[in-house]
């Protein structure tokens, strides 16, 4: 169905080809998985299938690519539209119309299908993807998982014989990812559709694949074969494969079920070992927080309502402001102080791990009965949460459960409708950004948003200025976290993982005791993820409190001490990682599933126990 014959692609302005030596064929009705570390040209291969490479991107393609017998050299992407359906990494960039139903019909309209056929297929696809109740919804109001399903549906309606997907499940929660994958499975089985997809989260997809195409590294010869064979030597592999390699199983198991059937002996070997996972964080020394410079803040707020509020915030913080601020607070709203102080003491007495909040430094994050409204919808309903220094917390839950909203509330991007938020003793949305960055830092879902400058060096210099840190602070962090990046590199030319690390360094320049990350592993390969885990673990040891919103259960298992589960804006589970993920099968990491009822979370723990 898809045939690459000695294909190499060289983009304009580069000496080396982006991919070379591609020579394989994917027969009809197969699900082929394209894997490899970041930056080996996976997107290039996918683009070559529908002709966007080189018709749209430019560059030179040597060799020949044929899809359903059509040569992409003579057929433009639009002339392949009836055989190839493509969904890129970012579904939002894919939508042409404004409502779900029109979007599903758009491709068919372009192909000139008869109205009754279109109607039938739209209804069919709405049911297939569970979108029936969203049909009239404007696309702008959909959540990430819904968008991904609409994007897939919109290319399904013309009944393409080949489906090309770039990271279809990376942005989805485990349940939504399962949904999308089962749809793909059904297409392959029932309609004989050929699917080619690239995906970093192998634990989700590798067992669905009939064939794996591995691009081991830039410029290296691609490996094509059955998943179990390729996984033996692949530089990227899911935890279950890692466990299989550790235990020396052959052939390698790809599914939890296969691994379980072979795990008897391994479980026996592990019986005596201590499987108490993830020790509680050592009570780390709290990082110091500079005092709020309240008088300066006062000067900027000349309208009375706000002034009172900000004075109350300063007073409530109790971070030992200058004389002026205490006076202002005293003269200001007394009730506000009482309330804020009340919250802090309440937390101190009932607090989880660190009672650090009581006297010296305030807890990195104290959220009390927080309600946030977005339009008429309550995004968060009475959420309470305390994070102590050195603790790493994963916020989990389905797309749209309120994880990002909670992070936004902690950095003051959204105002609480009721309840309170304190980040290191400051009310985030009433604190000046300059002061706030030294208390709390957020790496957003799209790290590029944080980066403005033309070069890494300029970015670092700006970060030092913004944070009031000594010159070279940020650059030192970058060198530590991301060795070998030249000063003159443009942030846009970095890979996804490098960009994330640069953004992390920028945020860390101000040394915020509370560090927040929103979906940090989206688009990261396993190597980049391992590096990120290492950085974050070290930061936690230094006393930073880390909160990450993530769908990645393996990351949560590897890194976090505690999991907070959100559903519909409410906390539905909050406890040590092992307990929470063991109680929720959908969120359990692969190793846990394989070795249940023993309570192992990660391959690392197993390896240490066996050693």
């Amino acid at each position: 169905m898809i045939r690459f014959e000695q294909v190499s692609v060289t983009y304009d302005g580069t000496a080396e080809p982006a991919v070379r030596g591609l020579d394989f064929e994917i027969p009809e009705g197969e699900l082929a998985l394209l894997v490899g570390p970041s930056g080996v040209g996976k997107s290039t291969v996918l683009g070559a299938v529908n002709g966007l490479v080189p018709h749209f991107t430019g560059g030179t393609l040597r060799g020949r690519v044929t899809v359903a017998g059509r040569d992409t050299r003579t057929h433009k992407p639009r002339e392949l539209a009836d055989v190839v359906g493509t969904v890129g990494q970012d579904p939002t960039a894919h939508f042409v119309t404004d409502t779900v139903e029109d979007e599903l019909a758009y491709g068919m309209e372009s192909l000139g299908l008869a109205p009754d056929v279109m109607r039938r297929r739209v209804e069919e696809t709405l049911d297939l993807l569970g979108l029936a109740d969203l049909r009239e919804r404007p696309i702008a109001t959909l959540s990430g998982g819904q968008r991904q399903r609409v994007a897939i549906g919109s290319v399904l309606t013309p009944h393409p014989r080949v489906l090309v997907l770039d990271e279809p499940t990376s942005a989805l929660d485990p349940a939504a990812a399962e949904e999308v994958l089962s749809v793909l499975q059904r297409l392959v089985h029932d309609l004989g559709t050929t699917v080619l997809m690239a995906e970093h989260r192998l634990e989700r997809v590798v067992h669905y694949a009939d064939r794996v195409l591995l691009l081991p590294g830039p410029g290296e010869t691609p490996v094509v074969g059955a998943p179990a064979e390729v996984m033996v030597s692949s530089p990227v592999f899911p935890p279950v494969v890692e466990l299989g390699r550790l235990a020396g199983w052959s052939p390698l198991p790809l599914t939890v079920r296969d691994a379980r059937r072979r795990a008897g002996t391994l479980r026996e070997r592990l019986t005596g070992a201590d499987d108490t996972p993830a020790p509680a964080p050592a009570p780390a020394a709290a990082l110091t927080v500079p005092a709020l410079r309240a008088p300066a803040a006062e000067r900027r707020r000349w309208w009375p309502g706000r002034r009172r509020a900000s004075a109350a915030a300063t007073g409530g913080a109790g971070a030992g402001g200058e004389g002026g601020s205490t006076e202002a607070a005293g003269a200001g709203a007394g009730s506000g102080i009482a309330e804020a102080a009340g919250v802090t003491t309440a937390v101190g007495s009932t607090g989880t791990a660190g009672a650090a909040a009581a006297g010296s430094a305030p807890a990195p994050a104290v959220v009390d009965r927080l309600v946030v409204r977005r339009g008429p919808v309550e995004a968060l309903r009475s959420v309470s949460l305390t994070v102590s220094p050195g603790e790493t917390v994963a916020l989990m839950g389905r797309n749209g459960a309120g994880k990002s909203t909670l992070l936004s509330a902690l950095v003051g991007l959204v105002e609480p409708a009721s309840g309170s938020v304190l980040a290191c003793g400051a009310v985030p949305h009433r604190t000046r950004p300059r002061d706030l960055v030294r208390r709390v830092g957020l790496v957003p879902q799209e790290p590029r948003d944080l980066l403005y400058a033309e070069t890494v060096a300029a970015e670092c210099a700006a970060a030092d200025r913004d944070a009031g840190a000594g010159p070279g602070t940020c650059r030192a962090l970058v060198t530590e976290l991301l060795p070998g990046i030249a000063d003159s590199t443009h942030p846009r030319d970095l890979s996804e993982g490098q960009r994330l690390t640069l953004a992390l360094a920028v945020v860390l320049t101000a040394r915020p005791p509370l560090l927040l990350l929103d979906e940090p592993t989206r688009g990261l390969d396993y190597a980049a993820k391992t590096r990120l885990v290492g950085h974050l673990r070290r930061l936690a040891e230094e006393g930073h409190a880390v909160v990450l919103a993530t769908h990645d259960v393996e990351l949560a298992a590897e890194l976090t001490h505690r999991v907070v589960m959100l559903a519909d804006g409410e906390v539905v589970a909050d406890g040590p990682t092992a307990e929470v993920v063991l109680a929720l099968p959908a969120y359990a990491p692969q190793v846990t599933k394989v070795l249940a009822p023993q309570r192992w979370l990660t391959v690392r723990q197993v390896r240490e126990a066996l050693a």
């Binding site: 539209a81 042409v96 139903e101 192909l111 969203l134 049909r135 950004p433 948003d449 944080l450």
Partner: protein
């Protein structure tokens, strides 16, 4: 078994099936606008606004474009305000007798004679500009009503096939603006994360470049996606048809140009009209033929049914009756401001305007797009 999801889906399906042709709403709203342009009677204008507001409230959906009515009402108020301020500052040609107050007058040099800045303000002037401004505001509100009731992109879908690509460009541009705003908000939020002030003009300016960059990236990605989804596919058309299309379109345009010239100039009174008509026919034929080059079809086009006729007809009736009334009794529709008198509501034109309420009872009640409560 009927789960809520299924019912919701059915409701939505019914909503679309029974949605009125967007053209009907536009005809109705523009006809109300025509009626508004014929009168300066504030009571009649207020009645028109009331009629449009009632229909919008009764028939609008929960979609984003339906919220535009409020924006148009605000715009109308702004126009009214500007009109008033201008007349206060610059004065009007209306002779006044009843002095309200006197603004400080700015003496202007000789060459600017005829222009007045400040000076006495008379009641008549204020009344006249108030009525005039209200008329403009009513026009805007009527356009706003059309916007709120009819999905603008669906209207574009009703364009002839040859103009389809223009329509897509407009739709893409319209969805682009909200994206741009979302980008600005997101990047301003990101500034806050960097510890820079997120308010103020400077904050806005500094995100300008990244926003434009993002917009450019997105348009490139969208273009790629559209290409991959078959945008711009052309059907094989015989060369003869292609040539005929070109000839008809060009000839038609020439005919329209020459015909209009003939009509407007003194010499060509005879051949002007026929030439213009022939040109229009040729151009339309060219467009129709050109449409055959695009193999596109339309998904669930709105049908122009009985209800569409009635909705459009009710609007046209209001317009026609108002125009007739204006010819029959100009004083009632354009009440004189000298001497100032309380405006009277002319009974028959007012009754005619109430016809515009018909859509509120005719047009189907559209259930709100659902699904919101289930997956926020």
């Amino acid at each position: 078994m009927t789960t809520p999801a299924v019912t919701a889906g059915r409701d939505a399906a019914r909503a679309r099936a029974s949605a009125l042709h967007p053209g009907a709403w536009w005809v109705w709203a523009l006809a109300l606008g025509v009626a508004a342009s014929r009168t300066r009677n504030p009571l009649l204008l207020a009645l028109l606004i009331g009629v449009s507001a009632y229909v919008v409230m009764a028939c609008r959906t929960n979609a984003p474009w339906a919220r535009s009515y409020g924006a148009f009402v605000k715009l109308g108020l702004l126009v009214l305000g500007i009109r008033l301020v201008f007349s206060l500052v610059f004065g009007t040609a209306i002779p006044g007798t009843l002095l309200l107050f006197r603004l400080p007058e700015v003496p202007l040099p000789d060459w600017a004679r005829g222009i007045r800045l400040g000076g006495p303000v008379y009641l008549e002037e204020v009344l006249f500009s108030l009525y005039d401004g209200l008329r403009l505001a009513t026009l805007l509100v009527c356009v706003g009503a059309a916007n709120a009731l009819a999905n603008p992109s669906r209207l574009l879908k009703a364009l002839p096939a040859a103009l389809y690509e223009v329509g897509v460009a407009v739709v893409v541009a319209m969805t682009f603006a909200p994206h741009l705003i979302a980008d600005v908000l997101r990047l301003r939020a990101a500034r806050r994360l960097r510890g820079r002030p997120d308010r103020g003009v400077r904050g806005l300016l500094q995100v300008g470049l990244p926003v434009l960059e993002g917009a450019l990236d997105r348009s490139v990605a969208l273009a790629a996606a559209m290409d991959a989804r078959g945008y711009g596919r052309t059907a094989a058309v015989p060369a003869a048809v292609r040539r005929t299309t070109a000839a008809l379109t060009l000839g038609g345009l020439l005919g329209i140009a020459a015909g209009s010239y003939g009509l407007l100039s003194a010499v060509g009174g005879v051949y002007g009209l026929p030439l213009l008509l022939a040109g229009i026919v040729a151009a339309l034929a060219g467009m129709w033929l050109g449409g055959r080059r695009t193999p596109r079809t339309r998904y669930r086009p709105e049908r122009w049914g009985v209800r569409a006729w009635l909705v459009a007809g009710s609007g046209v009736a209001v317009a026609v009756l108002t125009v007739v009334a204006a010819a029959y009794d100009p004083a009632a529709l354009d009440p004189p401001v000298t001497p100032p008198a309380a405006p009277v509501l002319p009974l028959w034109p007012a009754a005619a305007m109430l016809l515009g309420l018909l859509p509120a009872f005719l047009a189907p009640h559209v259930p709100e797009p659902t699904g919101k409560d289930r997956r926020p």
